[in-house]
Symmetry: C2
Subunit: 112 residues, 2 copies
Amino acid sequence: MRIGELAEQAGTSARALRYYEQQGLLSARRSSNGYRDYDEEDLRLVREIRALLEIGFNLEDTRPFVECIREGHSSGAECPASVEVLTRRLAEIDDYIARLRRIRATIVKELG
Amino acid sequence: MRIGELAEQAGTSARALRYYEQQGLLSARRSSNGYRDYDEEDLRLVREIRALLEIGFNLEDTRPFVECIREGHSSGAECPASVEVLTRRLAEIDDYIARLRRIRATIVKELG
DNA sequence: GCTGGCGTTGACATCACTGTCAAGGTTTAC
DNA sequence: GTAAACCTTGACAGTGATGTCAACGCCAGC
């Protein structure tokens, strides 16, 4: 499939896919005319990336998941490096929630 | 007081203060040599700005607070426009905390 | 064979705030 | 009187992911 279709299926843009490729997260065979050519595995990969981005990871954080899938695992979260990223992010979220709670209390006091 | 001292007292940089001025949040008398000259009121103003930035507001959001203080109120949060900003931010925080909780649950499940 | 829609690369724009540098003027301390 | 430390303005850099535009190539339908 070509880049436009992959983008649509994965809910993103061709521009974003080219960027992921530039960052080494995605690679594409080329058709004889130079067009990028993707398969179902690429679709799974991009969907994993998008899902992670949507919950607040940055692109670099998605790398272990991508590599995990490339190594043949069905879920990107099955590899130690991915687990480490998940664990770290979990701690960040807990910290952030705590911080937001403090800020919330400050605002409520201001409003009170 | 001059810009360097104000920056230090307010815990920021001269660069940032010039930026606030450029954005119309801060104004400065000029000494005969062209140097910016600030007083205690400016210090209060900048501290208010910094406090708001630190709890996640952007510069534009601080404008109502700054104007509130300029109008003579002792706290920037005393004016209706400021209250509106605080209320909006409170709702955003609540939404964000809820979202983070959902993300947290997702991650915990992944790690499961 | 033309038009429209897709693809290609490369480059610049965005947001918000700040760092940093250049090239110069001023003040302070010795 | 000179060096260090401050000030001035203006401009460019960088973050992260993506939008957007330019200038061009390819292909399908009519």
